[in-house]
């Protein structure tokens, strides 16, 4: 049973229509300057429940706890910059399931340098139309039965060509014989640019 939701933050009342935000289909959270979740709308709660993320994004908890550790600093910095400058952070990203390809857009709107209204909106959702399981296995699974997946971006390395590609089924839940590595792009970005300063 979900805990009762918190009241709409007074800080937002002069500018935002609480009832309207309650009813929209996009997932909305209001964060304080440190990233603590002050309020979420019903769509946020539904999405969390449907995707098994309810315990990671409670009101009062930290928004960043639901983000994988290597990405946390990126979003902390982006949100801090939005708060400091009054600018909007805007990003499109993929959050697919084994059945559906889903593209979302994230916008973080600063509110008087004291809070952020974070909105995740569905941009597109459609069935994958995946190749057969056998065809996927033949392309990615190595002779010993294991496969290599980038632990950062979740792309899987093709067994023969060594190209890194997204395999929808293994983004949400890895193949049981997945060995996790790091693709060249992620080595450069997460460990070259960010990890060795």
């Amino acid at each position: 049973v979900s805990a009762p939701r918190r009241p709409f933050p007074e800080l937002l009342r002069p500018a935002f229509d609480a009832a309207a935000l309650e009813q929209v289909e996009s997932n909305i959270a209001v964060l304080d300057a440190d990233g603590h979740i002050l309020w979420v709308n019903p769509a946020w709660v539904r999405f969390a429940q449907e995707n098994g993320a309810e315990a990671r994004t409670p009101e009062g908890g930290s928004y960043f706890d639901a983000i994988s550790p290597p990405l946390r600093d990126f979003y902390r910095e982006a949100f801090s910059k939005a708060l400091a400058t009054g600018g909007v952070f805007d990003q499109e990203y993929e959050c697919s399931t084994p059945d559906k390809r889903r593209i979302f857009r994230l916008r973080a709107l600063p509110v008087e340098a004291r809070a952020l209204l974070v909105e995740h909106s569905l941009v597109a959702e459609y069935d994958h139309g995946e190749p057969s399981h056998e065809a996927i296995a033949e392309r990615y699974v190595r002779e010993d039965g294991t496969l290599l997946q980038c632990s950062h971006c979740r792309r899987v390395r093709a067994a023969s060509t060594h190209s890194w590609e997204w395999v929808r089924q293994w983004v949400a839940a890895p193949h049981p014989e997945t060995s996790h590595g790091i693709c060249p792009s992620c080595v450069g970005f997460y460990w070259g640019l960010r990890g060795f300063k």
């Binding site: 632990s151 997945t178 996790h180 590595g181 790091i182 460990w191 060795f196």
Partner: protein, 111 residues
């Protein structure tokens, strides 16, 4: 004397990253890509720590840890994986999530 650590991972890039991070942190690092190579290293030199991937071709990290613990009871073992800890893995084995967070990794090694 700096602690000696053996890094075992079938992914070259991950090994290179770990060697750089751990060397910077003052460890003396050796590395290899399979369970059998790791056992060769352990036979050839003394190590304080074993840091191994979980899923690898030709022998898993848990198999390596079990063998290493039998042969070298003083060796401390840490397993890295993008998978959650399986039920058969002893809770005495430190488990570090991939993608690797350096602070979490160093904390596990410090324990």
């Amino acid at each position: 004397v700096s602690p000696r650590i053996l890094v075992v991972d079938d992914d070259d890039a991950t090994r290179q990253v770990l060697v750089r991070v751990l060397t910077r942190e003052g460890f003396t690092v050796a590395e290899c890509g399979t369970r059998d190579e790791a056992l060769d290293h352990l036979r050839a030199a003394t190590f304080d720590l074993l840091l191994t991937d979980f899923v690898m071709p030709r022998g898993s990290g848990l198999e390596l840890v079990a063998e290493a613990a039998r042969l070298y009871p003083a060796l401390h073992c840490v397993v890295m994986s993008g998978h959650p800890r399986p039920e058969e893995a002893s809770t005495a084995i430190a488990w570090v999530e991939k993608p690797i967070d350096v602070e979490q990794l160093l904390a596990a090694l410090a324990r």
